[in-house]
Symmetry: C2
Subunit: 537 residues, 2 copies
C-alpha cells in the first residue's frame, strides 16, 4: 500500500466515446443460431430443484428450456394484409429482405427470426390501426426498439410482423421547472441525453447501448444501467406512458405528475413486460438536474471483501454524491487489454472499482472524494487508484467498465448471465462457476453494478459449445436461486430466459402473470414466445 | 427586505413532537356522518364536462357521487362464522361494540361503518385462512392498518369484517450493508423509524400520521409524505411484498433485491390499490442512510411567483442535499396561531416555505444553504427567514407545516382536497376557489408539497354544509382536470373520492382497472365500495 494516488495520471491511449452497436465488428465464429425449426438439444434439461419449481416442469423432455417453442397457430401474412399495411403506412411498409435482415437478428447475433414484414409507424394512431388489424386477423407482432437487448426479446422467433418504433421519434414537451420530459417511444436514449444536457438536465438512466436503444424499449424492459444507484429505477422515474393494447385500444396514462393516486397505476404493468402486454408509444419521465461536478475514481483491490469494505466506506463518506459503484475483475481487464488494447490505468489487481460522484459543488465533492480515498488507502482497502474530473478522462475511465461487453464479443462465443444477489454473494458465484467448470471454459469473468447487487457473469468459449452450456445451466440458476437471487436482474427474460422464471418467481405468481397476459392480449399476438414460460401457454 | 436572517432565533413556545392521532381533541361540531342508509343528497351532481367522462355518468341521478352505494349482496355474519373465527384466531376475534367503535370510524370522523367483527391475525397463515373462509362464504372484508387515511378507505361502509394488521407487527430482517428492511405489514411507521435510526438508517417516507399509520397501509395507499422529493415514491423503494389474495392464496413477492426483471412486477398492483386487490402482510423496503446533517429553513415570500422562484433557485444551489420544499399560506399560519397557539417564527408574509436539507457533511451543507439563502434574500425572492440545525428546533419548524392538518380540525368541518398540478398552477387553484366561493366558506387555505406539485386545498365551515360542498364540487375537480392534474395526489380515492376518478383517468383505463379487480377478486369481497367508481360494478 505504498502506491500513492496518481491524480495527475494522463491517458496515453485514445479512449473514443463508444456507441458499441455501431463500432462492433463481429467475429465470424459467433455462429448465428437459426431457431426455426427448434434446435434439438442433445442435453436433457436437468430437473430444477427449487421448491417453487413444479416437479414435472421440464422433466421427461429432450427440449432445452432456451430453445424456441413450436410455432403457434397465428395466421400467415397474405397479399390482402400487405395491401392493408401499404395503405395504412405508405412508405413505412418494408418487405425487402436486405432491409429486414438487421431487424430479424438480435444484437448479439444469437437468435434469428424470419419475419417478412417490417412496419415503421410514425403516429400512435397508426400503431393502433396496425394492432387492431393484426388482432382481428390473428397475426403475431414483435415490437422492436433499438434491438439492443441481450435475451432475444426484440426479434421475431418465426414470421411475426416487426413493429419498429424507430420513426416515433419526436420529443413532445419538456418542462424546465419540473424537469419532466415527454417524448415518443422511439427516441434514442443518447439523443434525449444530448437534448437535455443543453438544458442543464440529464436522463435518469444511462446504458452502454445508449447510442442505439430507444426510450420505449428501455421502459418496456425496465432497463437498469449505470445511474440506478443514484436515481432509482424506471418504476419511480417514469411518470406516464401511452400504450396501445393488443386490440388497438390506446391507453392514455401519459401523466406528467409526480404524484397521482387515482386508482391502480396501470403504467406499471407495461414497465418491464417486454412488449407482451402492449406497445409503448410515448413516455414521460422525470429528469434530474445535470450535476455541475462529476468525478470518477478507478481503484484496485486485492480481495472482493476489501471491495465490499470500500463500498461500505464509500456509502458513508460520499453519501448523497455517490452516483455509481461498479466493478470488474482481473479477467475482464485481461480482455480489455487483449482485444481492445486498452491499458490498465493502475497497477494490476484482482479487482477494479469505478466510483462516480456527481454533485452541485465541485469543491465540496472533491473534498469528500479525497477524504474517502485517503481513508480507503490508509485502511488498506484499496491498493492503487486514479481520479479524473475532466470530461475526456472521466469517459476514458468509464470505458474500462462500459467496454467489457464489447471486449467479450471478441472471445468467440459468450454465455451471458445477469443475476442479482445479496451484495456479499455476487463474486462468490463467479468463483463457484470457475470451480464448477474446472477449466472447460476459455474465460469466466465477472463485472457489474455492486451498488445494486447486480453481477454480470460471462463464460466464454471459442465457439458455441452445448456441452459447456449444459455444465453452466442450470448450475448458475440453482446457485442464484439458493440465495434468493434473481436470474435476470436487468436484462429481462425475452426468448432465451423465459423458462427459467421459476428460479426467481413462485408458481402462483407466474400463473397470475399468465392471467394478466390473457386479460390484456387474449389471442397472444403481442411478442409471442417471450417473457412467460412455455408451460403456461 | 432589510430583515436579516435570524439564525439565532430561539423558540419561545414549546413545540411538542406530535403524533396527531393521539393528541387530537375532536370538536363535537364535526358531525360524524353515518352513511347507512345512504344519505340522500339535495344536490344534483353536476355532470362532468371533461372529455373522458362518459356523457351519461352521474346524470339523471339525485345521488351525490361521494355518498355510499347500496349494500351489495354479501352474506351476513352467522354464529357458525363466528365460531370458525374464534377457533382460527383465539383471542383475536373481537365483537365487543366498544372495542369496535374506533375501528368503525375514520380518523376524520367523517365516515362510519357498522362492522360487528374485528379480526386481529398474527400470521400470514391466519390472514390466508380468514380470506379463504370469507371468499367461500361471500363475506366482505375491510383491511385496516392504522386507520389514518383521509378518504374513508380503511373503515367498513356496512357490516364488512374488519381485518386489522395491528398484530402483524414484527420486524423480520434488516441488512446493514444494503439497508434493506423486511417487516410485517402492521409495524407502525414511527417504530420502524426509531429502529432504523439506531442503526444509522431512516425510512424512505415520513408522514404526519407516523405515530399511528402502519407500513402496510402506507404501501396499500402509496403514501407520499415529506421525503418523496428526495427518496422518490414507494413504487421505487418498496422491493418486495407478501400479499394474501381474496381466495386466501399467499403471493410471495417478498424480494429483497434492488433489481429483478423476471416477469411482470406483480407487487406494483398492490401498491396504491387500497386493499381492494389483496391484503399486504409483509413488506421489504430499501432504506437510505441516516443523514449526518439536517437543517431546516423557514422562509417568507410576498408572492407565490417569488416562492416558485425560490424553489427553482433552491433546486440549483442545494441540488443533492435538498430533501423537502413545503409551503403554507398566511391563512394556515392564522389557524396555527389561533387554534394551536403556535407563534409565527418570522414576520408575517403571504407565503411561508419550509426547506429541509440533509447530507453527509454538515460544513458543506451549511455552506450551500447559506449561499442559497443569501442569494434568495439579495435577489428579493425571500423577505424573512430563520434556520435551525438543532434537533428540537428542526422539529419545531417542521411542526409549522405538519400541524396544519391538526389546526384545521378545530375549524368545525373541513372539505379536504389533495390535488397535483403543474407546480406553477398549484396556488392558482386556491385563489380560484376563493373567488368562486365568494366568502361562503369560513376559510380557504392552501399548503403542501411544492417539490411534488402537490397542493392540499382545504375549505372550512363551522359545520357540515351541503350547499358549500356543492359549490366546491365539481368546481375543484373540473379546474384540476382542466390542467391535467390529479384529483388525488397522495390520499387515494377510498370511499369518498371513488366516483371522481374520471376527472383524472380516461374511461378505458378505469375499465381495465375493473377487469383487474375482477381477475384478482371475482366476488369483490375485498374492501368493497372503495377506489373504483360505482358505475363499474
Amino acid at each position: 500500500m505504498d502506491v500513492a494516488l496518481r491524480r495527475s495520471w494522463s491517458l496515453k491511449t485514445a479512449f473514443p466515446f463508444m456507441i458499441f452497436r455501431r463500432t462492433l465488428s463481429l467475429s465470424s465464429s459467433w455462429g448465428v443460431h437459426t431457431i426455426r425449426p427448434p434446435a434439438p438439444s442433445g442435453q436433457r434439461w436437468a430437473a430444477a430443484r427449487r421448491r417453487h419449481i413444479h416437479s414435472g416442469a421440464g422433466e421427461g423432455t429432450e427440449r432445452c428450456p432456451s430453445a424456441a417453442p413450436e410455432r403457434r397457430p397465428f395466421c400467415r401474412l397474405s397479399r390482402e394484409d400487405l395491401a392493408f399495411f401499404r395503405e395504412t403506412l405508405p412508405g413505412g411498409t418494408i418487405t425487402d429482405p436486405d432491409l429486414l435482415e438487421a431487424h430479424n437478428v438480435d444484437w448479439l447475433k444469437s437468435v434469428r427470426g424470419h419475419s417478412e414484414l417490417l412496419l415503421r409507424p410514425q403516429t400512435t394512431a397508426q400503431v393502433s390501426a396496425i394492432l387492431r388489424y393484426c388482432n382481428g386477423r390473428n397475426l403475431a407482432v414483435t415490437p422492436q426498439g433499438g434491438n439492443t437487448g441481450l435475451v432475444g426479446g426484440s426479434v421475431p422467433v418465426y414470421d411475426e410482423i416487426i413493429l419498429s418504433t424507430a420513426l416515433l421519434n419526436n420529443i413532445l414537451t419538456f418542462d424546465h421547472v419540473s424537469g419532466i420530459l415527454t417524448c415518443q417511444a422511439g427516441c434514442v436514449l443518447e439523443s434525449l441525453s444530448q437534448y437535455l444536457e443543453e438544458k442543464d438536465f440529464i436522463m435518469p438512466l444511462d446504458l452502454g447501448a445508449k447510442g442505439s436503444c430507444h426510450i420505449g424499449g428501455n421502459v418496456a424492459t425496465n432497463a437498469g444501467g449505470l445511474r440506478l444507484l443514484r436515481y432509482g429505477s424506471l418504476r419511480g422515474t417514469v411518470l406516464g406512458l401511452e400504450v396501445v393494447l393488443a386490440d388497438g385500444l390506446v391507453l392514455d396514462c401519459l401523466s406528467t405528475l409526480r404524484k397521482d393516486n387515482t386508482g391502480y397505476d396501470l403504467k406499471q404493468l407495461f414497465i418491464g413486460s417486454e412488449g407482451t402486454l402492449g406497445v409503448i408509444t410515448a413516455v414521460s419521465v422525470l429528469c434530474p438536474r445535470k450535476p455541475s461536478a462529476v468525478s470518477v475514481a478507478f481503484l484496485g483491490c486485492q480481495t472482493f471483501d476489501q471491495l465490499l469494505g470500500t463500498f461500505k466506506l464509500c456509502k458513508g463518506m460520499l453519501g448523497e454524491i455517490l452516483s455509481a459503484f461498479e466493478f470488474l475483475d482481473a479477467a475482464c481487464m485481461g480482455l480489455l487489454n487483449t482485444h481492445l488494447k486498452l491499458p490498465n490505468p493502475i497497477t494490476d489487481c484482482p479487482f477494479y472499482i469505478v466510483i462516480e460522484t456527481s454533485g452541485s459543488n465541485s469543491a465540496h465533492d472533491e473534498e469528500k472524494l479525497h477524504s474517502f480515498l485517503e481513508e480507503a488507502m490508509t485502511s488498506s482497502l484499496v491498493t492503487d487508484g486514479t481520479v479524473a474530473t475532466e470530461d475526456a478522462k472521466v469517459k476514458a475511465l468509464w470505458s474500462m467498465r462500459e467496454r467489457v461487453t464489447e471486449a467479450l464479443t471478441h472471445e468467440g462465443f459468450t454465455y451471458k448471465y445477469d443475476v442479482s444477489l445479496p451484495v456479499e454473494r455476487i463474486y462468490q458465484l463467479v468463483t463457484a462457476t470457475r470451480d464448477h467448470l474446472r477449466g472447460r471454459a476459455k474465460n469466466v469473468v465477472g463485472y457489474g453494478h455492486v451498488g445494486d447487487g447486480n453481477l454480470h457473469l460471462n463464460v466464454t468459449s471459442s465457439a458455441r459449445d452445448p456441452a459447456l452450456q449444459a455444465a453452466i445451466e442450470p448450475f448458475v440458476y440453482e446457485w442464484t436461486s439458493g440465495y434468493q437471487g434473481s436470474v435476470s436482474a436487468e436484462h429481462g427474460l425475452g426468448l432465451k430466459k423465459r423458462n427459467y422464471i421459476y428460479y426467481s418467481k413462485p408458481r402462483p405468481a407466474v400463473a397470475l402473470m399468465g392471467s394478466i397476459k390473457t386479460l390484456l392480449d387474449p389471442k397472444g399476438i403481442l411478442n409471442p414466445y417471450k417473457t412467460l414460460p412455455d408451460d403456461l401457454e
